[in-house]
């Protein structure tokens, strides 16, 4: 079976799973885990979007 993800969906999948692990392992309480996981997810995807737009600007 072969799966082909585009750049953004690959980044989103990566961000989702990495954020879950970061949230669980870096915080002590369930509430903090969820908050930190969401923070990491937003930062991952935000970083991807910012880097993407930065590269678009550099290319012009």
């Amino acid at each position: 079976m072969t799966i082909t993800l585009n750049h953004f969906s690959a980044a989103a999948v990566f961000a989702l799973f990495a954020s879950v692990v970061f949230g669980i392992t870096h915080r002590d309480t369930a509430r903090d885990m969820i908050r930190y996981g969401l923070y990491c997810f937003v930062m991952f995807l935000g970083g991807v979007l910012v880097a993407g737009w930065a590269m678009w600007l550099l290319r012009r």
């Binding site: 072969t2 082909t4 993800l5 750049h7 690959a10 990566f14 799973f17 990495a18 692990v21 002590d28």
Partner: protein, 138 residues
């Protein structure tokens, strides 16, 4: 009398903790999330298992490459360190000769990174299981 009972109970408890401090990381390395599950952190263990295993399997399905111990190149060795963190998944992949395709397109390279990161994330999960076992974390 009461003191000796308390001492014995404390000794038994510390033995259990030290046993768990070895067992939880070992089991957690072999099966992602299992180090948490044997300490009755069922939901955390299940989420870790799903996240790490899915990331690794997606990497394989994206035709990612698996690294071996005798890669030669320093970057290959680093890739091996990352891959080996996935424990049984890595051993299973090697045993079945999966992940041997040449990286011919971008998503295959993503797949390779997915598998390395899955292993590295499992190392973090193993450290977390250890911290729970020694009482540093609840």
């Amino acid at each position: 009398m009461a003191n000796s009972t308390t001492d014995r109970s404390k000794a038994a408890n510390s033995e259990t903790v030290s046993m768990m401090a070895i067992l939880a990381p070992a089991v957690g390395w072999l099966i992602p999330g299992a180090g948490h599950m044997i300490q009755k952190r069922w939901i955390r263990g299940a989420l870790l298992f799903i996240s790490i295993v899915t990331l690794f399997l997606l990497g394989l399905a994206m035709q990612g490459r698996i690294y071996r111990a005798n890669g030669g190149d320093i970057l290959d060795m680093l890739g091996f360190v990352g891959n080996v963190g996935a424990g049984a998944l890595y051993l299973l992949t090697l045993a079945n000769d999966w992940g041997q395709g040449a990286i011919a397109f971008a998503t295959a390279d993503y797949g390779t990174k997915f598998m390395i990161v899955a292993g590295l994330l499992n190392f973090i999960a193993v450290a977390d299981a250890y911290h729970i076992a020694v009482g540093k974390k609840r």
